[in-house]
Amino acid sequence: MVQTDNLKFQYKKAEPLFHFPNITLEEQENLLILGKSGIGKTTLLHLLAGLLKPVSGSVMIDDVQINRLSHSQLDTFRGQNMGLVFQKNHAVRSLTVLDNLKARLFFSKKPIDLAAIASLLEQLDLKETQKKKVNELSEGQLQRLGIAMAVIHNPQVILADEPTSSLDDENCSAVMQLLQQQAEKNQANLVVITHDIRMKSGFKNIITL
């Protein structure tokens, strides 16, 4: 469950104040946030992820008002309940695919379940790559690894920042499907922000900033 109320944010005093529309997502509801660059999409995503603190308003995730948590509480909460997918950087470069997934579970203080990792790698067609370093993967494999990293710990919310903008049409729809599949499997909310209108077709809830 994701809920925002009267969310406002300002980077510096002199800079413009962002005022975001309220978001209310029931369990397993997905949301696409569309908008041009510079409109504050990433800012909104970072507010949802607790990476930024709002000037005013609140962010509720599963009955926890995350903008009231301390730094370390936020680190833990984010690690355990959220999965973030990015446009280009998907995993830690010095680690192999398998080690990345292990580290992901280690950082979120969850047990390292090798069977679960193996099955996720299988689902995302990454089994062959598990011993490879991140920079040895293809673009499509990387994006799938990004998804794996976001869902391996069974999060409540999956937040994706422009996950498809650097992909071709084929990969774009594949990534979209995988994200939705994984969200459904984890019974998690999926929030995607993008300027990529190709994604519009897959979502019922769409907010345009």
């Binding site: 990433t42 800012t43 970072h46 992820a49 990476l51 930024l52 730094h71 370390s72 680190d75 833990t76 984010r78 690690g79 355990q80 959220m82 973030l84 990015f86 446009q87 280009k88 950087n89 995993a91 830690v92 470069r93 010095s94 680690l95 080690d99 292990k102 580290a103 992901r104 579970l105 280690f106 950082f107 979120s108 203080k109 390292i112 370093k133 990293m149 920042d161 422009e162």
Partner: protein, 428 residues
Amino acid sequence: MNNWKISLKNLLHKPLYAFLSVFSLSISIGLLLGIQQLDTSIQNQFENALGSIEMVVGAKGSPLQLVLSSVLHIDKPTGNIAYSEVAKIKKNPLIKEAVPISYGDNYKGYRIVGSTQGFAKMYGAELLEGRAVENSMEAAIGNDVAQQLGLKLGDTFLSSHGLTENSIEEHSEAFTVVGIYKPAYKVIDRLIITELASIWDVHDHGDHDEEAHDEHGEHDADEEHQEEGEHKEHDNHSEHDLHDKDDKEITSILVSFRNPMGLMTMPRTINTNTDMQAALPKYELERLFRFTGVGVKAISWIAYIILLISCITIFIGLYKMVRERAFDLALMRTYGASNFQLFRIIGFEGILMVLASLFFGFLFSLIGLHFMVDLFKSQFQQDIILTFSADQMLQTLLIVVVISVVSIVLAILPLLKMNISKILSDEK
């Protein structure tokens, strides 16, 4: 998976950087430890080698040379003095012991020292087997000599003239081994000890062409004719020599005092009132170490500079890593890692490098010391016993650890101000 493992994998991700940092840091640690331990060992060794010798009296010349030659047995003697001087010096009530020594020959590079029974006492050497020298042409040998040359009780050998091995100027009378000393870890281990009379005997035959032995010249010539056949005659001859010891010469006198007053007054008295010189081994060695100390200091400074450079390398490496891998670190934060945890992971990378450097540095110093000990053994016939000074070692290690930890902390401090949101949105 744990923090250390992630650190190690981060480090192995940049093997060249890790290798260079560890290499330069361990070289500096190795140099620092090595030079210190070598310096302490050599100083201990030399000071230990003095035994109870507090003063050496010998022919005029360089006091350092007198000490090096008569006490440490690594240089040529300054000249000879009359044997009658021993009795004069012994008369002085401040003197506890005065031991005459005479040398000039060697066997396979090991010096033959003619002296009295007091010589072994000066070094606190005890017999392992056999007995002390009692007659001319008997020899009691140091432990190193016995082991290196495989000499046993009852073995005989021919000495050769000079202080280095040469077979051309071999003397014709054979020494018999009558005693072997226990290892004393002093210079005596590498000496062959005999009676003063043996040295005189041997030289009365061999040296007639080098030195003018006016009195004995004729006698020697006679002797030469009979040498091969008439051994009894020869024995008589050495008896005869023993009787007129007073005309004989020795190389120097090793002296120990009854009380420190002797140390204060005797050297001056001897230096001004006689044509001999008195040298204080302790003082001369301190002077010597002041010279070698400059070299030790120079090497230490070089080592410290390398230490500084390697710490800067570690600093730059980690700092660059924090910058270049900002996105990786930000990702870890989104995975649930706290700021402190990232601090630890990168800190561990530095610590792993420092630990590896300490290990290899220690190894380098051991290898280096081993090499130096071998060098000393082959070049100067000096057995250096490594006396590791734990205090000094800990002090050095502490300096290394403090400097490297400071550079690690400085490198990862920017982490505290890391703005994850900014880093993550800058990817596009």
